[in-house]
């Protein structure tokens, strides 16, 4: 027992652990709300959610959301991490003072198996039986008092999604934080942990002792599966929904975006009036307000995309998508499980690369990490929207359902996916060749996504987006503005073409000219190495300083600056190039060295360059006019 009175009070640390689909994250979100953050423990190849939960007496505990596992036998990275954290063997992660073990009450027989290894750790543990509402509605029941007696640990029947029984969880944490809870020896003997049939038998006995009545099968899930897994209706519905989402990104979010844009443009002079006319007012308006503002206007579209991805993930549809995709993925040497990280790469490659930790095969995991940045992440979306909006006239394409602009966007998303799986094929038939790994994936019941969870996701995403705008994009914008205003000529800023930025742009122009890009686009390509959206703020600043965009706006300025060939080539370049420092950093960390990120960067840049070159030459030759 650690001493109760310590000189420097260390925060009380509570770990949440449970099998996949037991509602861990829902409970975590419920307890921490907006006070969570993704912590990245230094030197450790994991990213975990850490949050603070406030008790009703205003004391706080630190909550750690561990990866979902079926057992503590370390076979995948996730299980190894969970085991190390619980044993206090993970560097820089404090050993948890107590454990919230969350199990699905509608599948208690199997989920109770995890109780055996967790209880044998002898940490204060609350056994949480989640989905109480589901259990009731489907006619199941369990005697929690009896179960608590059998296990020697308190048991709470809750519904994390509905907020039912959360007070019991808080009471438990208050108790352990105060050091008043104690562990009673369990009535049942814990089984030998490595013997899975024995463990299952034990769980069965415990369930019997607690009068556990399994619920009837989830009817709604079966009904929905008969639609979503229907050979014809299933894929058709999926395509229609995806088409509708892309259409909404263009049409639905446009009014909101236009208003945001108008506000930023009209407020520029007002903000500028805070400073006297001169060099710093120019920095504020041209460099910062316009540069960063041009990126921020895309927030509505990005949130819409995240709302869609959030619904896919929270509803349980993603597992079905992985199931449907498995046959195709197998042809390219991957398995359906790789599909789930690839879908989340549509949001951002960084969490997607983290999510590959559930893939057991080392080579499959590496292949998935290497192709994830080819998926169309949300940082590409503003660039696509800007260029497509400037160069493609919106006409009905598939009736009123899908316009040409939305279709072009959809095409770019498909292009990224095709490049990703072809690259996977290349890798899996050469340097990452391995035996086919079996596909096994649990299909969770469909659940209605809660507004709370979706709202939290959007809030988190807005925070990330605005932070990026306020750090990487802002810094690049300021540096660019400085380089665009030096060297001074007779105390006056030079013409942009004669500035340092202009010189750099002119220096690389010969290399990118065959792609259809001039020196201004060249500067944008360089700054977008930091983050893709930066090209927009850079072009905004350059055009503003040229004085060309005073009234016409970024879109028209771009039309004057790029040929149609160059515009398509620019889209292709952004589809393939690895312009993201965060992705490079996370690949280095997850693969343990510079070798793979270097290969990946070289491959993607070369692919981007060659394909953009071909595109520009083909469009210019007039084959498609």
């Amino acid at each position: 027992m650690p001493p109760k009175f310590q000189t420097a009070p260390r925060p009380h640390v509570v770990a949440i652990i449970g099998p996949p689909n037991s509602g861990k994250s829902t409970l975590f979100n419920r307890l921490t709300g907006l006070r969570q953050k993704v912590a990245n423990f230094p030197g450790v190849t994991v990213e975990q959610h850490v949050g603070r939960a406030k008790m009703d007496d205003h004391s706080e505990v630190i909550l750690v959301d561990l990866p979902g596992v079926y057992s503590l036998n370390p076979r995948s990275e996730d299980e190894q991490v969970t085991r190390d954290v619980l044993n206090g063997q993970m560097k820089d992660v404090p050993k948890p003072d107590s454990v919230l073990l969350i199990l699905d009450s509608t599948n208690l027989g199997r989920h109770l198996m995890l109780a055996a290894p967790i209880l044998s750790l002898k940490l204060p543990t609350l056994v949480i039986l989640n989905m109480a509402d589901d259990l009731r509605n489907r006619g199941g029941q369990v005697d929690t008092a009896e179960l608590a007696g059998q296990l020697g640990a308190p048991v709470a029947l809750i519904s994390a999604a509905k907020g039912e029984g959360i007070d019991k969880v808080i009471q438990f944490m208050k108790g352990t934080a105060a050091g008043t809870s104690s562990l009673a020896p369990p009535k049942v003997e814990l089984p030998v942990l490595q013997d899975i049939p024995r463990c299952r038998q034990w769980a069965h006995q415990v369930g019997l002792g607690a009068a556990y009545q399994a619920p009837t099968p989830p009817l709604w899930t079966r009904r929905l599966d008969s639609v979503f897994l229907h050979p014809i209706a299933g894929p058709l519905i999926f395509l229609i929904v995806v088409g509708a989402v892309f259409q909404t990104i263009f049409r639905g979010a446009k009014p909101l975006m236009d208003e945001l844009q108008a506000f930023i443009h009209s407020s520029g002079p007002w903000v500028g009036s805070a400073l006297p006319p001169g060099i710093f007012r120019s920095l504020l308006i041209d460099g910062i307000w316009n540069g960063v503002g041009n990126v921020i206007v895309f927030l509505p579209q990005i949130l819409l995309l995240f709302l869609f991805i959030g619904i896919l993930e929270d509803s349980g549809y993603l597992a079905r998508a992985a199931l449907i995709a498995d046959r195709t993925m197998a042809k390219f040497g991957l398995q359906g499980k790789s599909f789930i990280p690839l879908i989340s790469a549509y949001a951002c490659a960084v969490p997607a690369i983290m999510a590959t930790r559930t893939i057991e095969s080392k080579r499959d995991r590496l292949a998935t990490i290497l192709i994830a940045p080819l998926m169309t992440c949300s940082a590409r979306l503003p660039v696509y929207l800007l260029v497509i909006g400037a160069f493609i006239k919106d006409r009905p394409f598939l009736g009123p359902l899908l316009g040409t602009q939305a279709a072009a966007l959809l095409g770019l998303y498909a292009l990224g996916f095709i490049a990703a799986i072809l690259t996977a094929r290349l890798l899996k038939s050469s340097i990452l060749k391995s035996e086919r790994t079996p596909f096994m994936l649990e299909m969770p019941p469909y659940r209605m996504p809660t507004l709370r969870s979706l709202g939290l996701r959007l809030f988190e995403r807005s925070k990330v987006f605005l932070r990026r705008a306020g750090t990487v994009i802002l810094t690049t914008a300021v540096i660019l503005w400085i380089l665009a205003n030096l060297p001074l000529h007779n105390g006056q800023p030079p013409d942009i073409a004669d500035s340092y930025a202009g010189m750099v742009g002119h220096a690389i122009e010969p290399v990118i000219k065959p792609l259809g890009f001039n020196w201004k686009i060249g500067i944008g390509l360089l700054t977008s190495m930091a983050a893709r959206e930066t090209i927009i703020s850079t072009l905004g600043t350059i055009y503003k300083m040229e004085g060309s965009s005073e009234s016409v706006g970024l879109r028209q300025a771009l039309q004057n600056d790029l040929t149609p060939g160059g515009a398509v080539a620019l889209l292709i370049f952004f589809a393939f190039a690895m312009q993201c420092m965060s992705t490079i950093a996370v690949v280095r960390r997850e693969t343990g060295g510079w070798k793979w990120p270097a290969i990946q960067f070289a491959y993607m840049t070369l692919l981007a360059f060659v394909c953009a070159l071909i595109t520009n030459q083909v469009v210019r030759s007039g084959l498609f006019t």
């Binding site: 079926y70 299952r200 897994l229 229907h230 057991e360 596909f439 096994m440």
Partner: protein, 91 residues
């Protein structure tokens, strides 16, 4: 190999079951780590498995086992050996 030569009766596997036709699992003829993973998902000797829907194209298929639904490819299901119908009684 030895078992094969002793009993000449061909074994029935999960892959041979039709949709909705239950079978009782006898053993998992797979490498240790894969077998363990499957057992954690509910594919334990003695448990009843019922094939359910498949992905469009027939593969992979969802199996109902031990209160949950798990998708497997045919190549994996073909290594899950069932008890013969008139043989051992399920537990």
């Amino acid at each position: 190999m030895l078992q094969m030569s002793v009993s000449s009766v061909p074994v029935r596997t999960l892959a041979q079951l039709k949709e909705g036709e239950p079978g009782t699992l006898d053993r998992l003829d797979l490498p240790e780590d894969i077998a363990q993973r499957l057992m954690e998902l509910g594919f334990l000797p003695g448990h009843i498995v019922v094939p359910a829907r498949s992905a469009p194209g027939g593969e992979p298929r969802v199996y109902r086992v031990d209160g949950s639904e798990v998708a497997l490819r045919r190549e994996t299901a073909a290594h899950l050996i069932l008890r013969s119908r008139d043989g051992n009684e399920p537990k």
